[in-house]
Amino acid sequence: MSKDVIVTQHISKTYGKPPLQVFALRDTNLEIKQGDYIAIIGPSGSGKSTLMNLLGCLDKPSTGKIFIDGRDISTLNEKELARIRREKIGFIFQKYNLIPTLNAQENIELSMGFAGVDSQTRTKKAKQLLEMVELSKRLTHKPSEMSGGEQQRVAIARALANNPSIILADEPTGNVDTKSGDNIMRILEDVNRKGETIIVVTHNMAIAQRAKRVLRIQDGEVREDHV
C-alpha cells in the first residue's frame, strides 16, 4: 500500500461574507496516494481551478485541513508555502507560463535556482530533462521561438526539475493540437509510471479517461467517478 501524498479534510473555499457568500468548494475530502494518476473534470466555474490552487499551495482553504506528505499546510506562512511549492509540487499550466525573457534551459534552471541547487547540477539536470521531452535542440530558444507543444514540453521539464512528488497540470493540452496533446500526455504518463503522482484538470473526456481515477466537480462538490 503506497502512502498518501495529499489528504484533505473537510476543506471549503468561500468568497465574500454571508449572506453573499459563495462556495467555490464545499466540504471536500480526498486521499491521493503516491503514484496516483487523477483527472479532475467538471464544467467551467465548477471549482476545478479552486481545488487545483488549494492542492498546489497557491491558496489556503477557508476551512478544513490539507496535508501534503503528512504536513498540514493550512498553518504555514507564505515562505513555508513557497518551499512546499518548489520542493513537492510541479505546476503545468494551460498557457505554458514560461518566463518570456529566459530561454528553455534557463526556464528550467530557474526553479532549481529558487531551490538553491548549484549551477553545475542545474545545467546538467536541465539538459537531461530537455532530452527527456525531446527538446535537446531547443536549449537556447526563447518561448516566443517555440511552438505551443514545445513550450508545454519545456513547462513539463520545468515542473519535474526539483523532483516533486506531485505534478499538477491545469488543462495541459488545452492550447495545443491533438498530436502535440497526445505527445504531452504520453510524457506525463511516462513520468507517472516512474512513481510520480499526476493530477490533471481537464474538460476533455478523452484525456480524463486515460487517468486511473476521475474526480468530477459540480457546484463545488467533488464526487469520485468509479470507472
Partner: protein
Amino acid sequence: MFRDHVKIAVKNLRNRLSRSLLTLLGIAIGIMAIISLMALGEGMQQAVTGQLSSLSDVIIVSTGGGGFASFGGGGSTGEYFTQRDVADIQRLQGVKQVSTQLSGAGLAEYNGKTTIVSLTGMDVGVMRLQYASQNLEAGGFLTEGEQNEIMIGYGIAHDTFDTSISIGGRIKINGEKFFVSGIFGKQGFGGSSSDSLVLMSSRDFQKLTGQSNISLIYLRVYNVNDAESIATSIQTTINGNHGQKDFATATTMTSILKTVQSIIGILQLVLVAIASIALVVASIGIMNTMLTSVMERTREIGIMKAIGATNLDIMSIFIIEGMLVSSIGGIIGIILGVFGSQGLTLILNSFMSMGGSSSLTPIITLMSVVLAVSVSIIVGVLSSLYPAWKAARMSPIEAVRYE
C-alpha cells in the same frame, strides 16, 4: 541564488532597453549635476585658499568694525589712522613691515571734462600684493621710484570721461599731470569694486594732497603663528590711542580665509541641494518605471511564485533591477560630471572675467565620487522598494490568471 536574481534583472532591463536607458539617463543627469557642482565648489575653495594662504603673514588694520569688508576697499567710516598709530605698530614685536593706504578725493580732468574721483595712495610693493588677484586690461603695475604714474579702474578708463583713456594717457589731478601706466580689467560681481579706483604711490599722494589720511594699515609679521596675537595687541594699542573701544579692526588673513571658506562651504551645500532635486525627480522616474514593470510582469511574478520563488526572491529581483539602473546611471553621471564641470567652469570664467591667477579649475574629489556612487545606489534601493514590495505581495493565483 543572488546570481539568478541579477540575471533575471539584467534580462528584464535589456528586454525594455529604451525605457531602461531613459530611466538611467534621469539618474545620470542628477549625479552629473551633483558631481560637477561639487567639483566647482571645491575648485572655488582651493583657488581662494591658495590665493589667501600665500598672504597668511599679512594683517590688515582698518577703521571701524568692518573687518573683511574693508579689505582692498579703504576705510569708509571717514576716520583715519594717525602717524602715531603707524609708529606704535612698527614698535610691536614680531612686525616685519608696515605700510599704509591713504585715501582722499581729488579733481580729475581729462580731455576738457572735470570730475571728482577718490584717490588711493599706497606703497608700490603693497599694491602688487593687494591687487595681485585682479587682472589688468592693459599696462602694468607702477614702478618703484617713478613719479606721477597712476593705475586706474575700468570705470575711470571707460565710463567717467567722454572718451576712453588708454595706457600713456595723461590725466590732470588737482592740476598735476599723471600718466596712466595700468588699467584694471572690469570687475565682475565679486569683491569690492576696483572700477572707480585711482591708485598712486604714497609719495605722490602726499605731495599732491598735502594730507596723509591713513585709511588702512597693511603689515606683515615674521611668524604666521603670531599673527592672531599681534592683531589683538594692535587693536588694543590703536583703540587706546583714539580712546574708542572699537576704533580699529585688525584682520589676519587666516581669519579672512576661514570666513571665505565657510561662505564657500555654504554655497557648495546650496549648490548640491539644488542638484539633489534632479536626483529626487530621477528616483521618482525609477519608481514609476518599476511600477509599470511590476504591472506588466504580474503574470511572470505569479509564475515565479508558483514554481517556488519566495516573496524575498521577488523583492530582491526588483530591487536589484532598481539598483542596476541607478548605479549604471550613477557611473555615467560621474563621467558626464567630469566633462560637465569643465564646461561649467569655462562658462563661469568667461562670465565673471576672473582671468589671470584666479581662474577656476574644477576639482573632483574621491569623496564626491564615493558620495555619488553611494547616493545613486541608495536612490535605486529606495525607489524600487515600494514597487518590489507590491510585486512580492501579489497573490500567485491572480498573477497567473492575469492576462
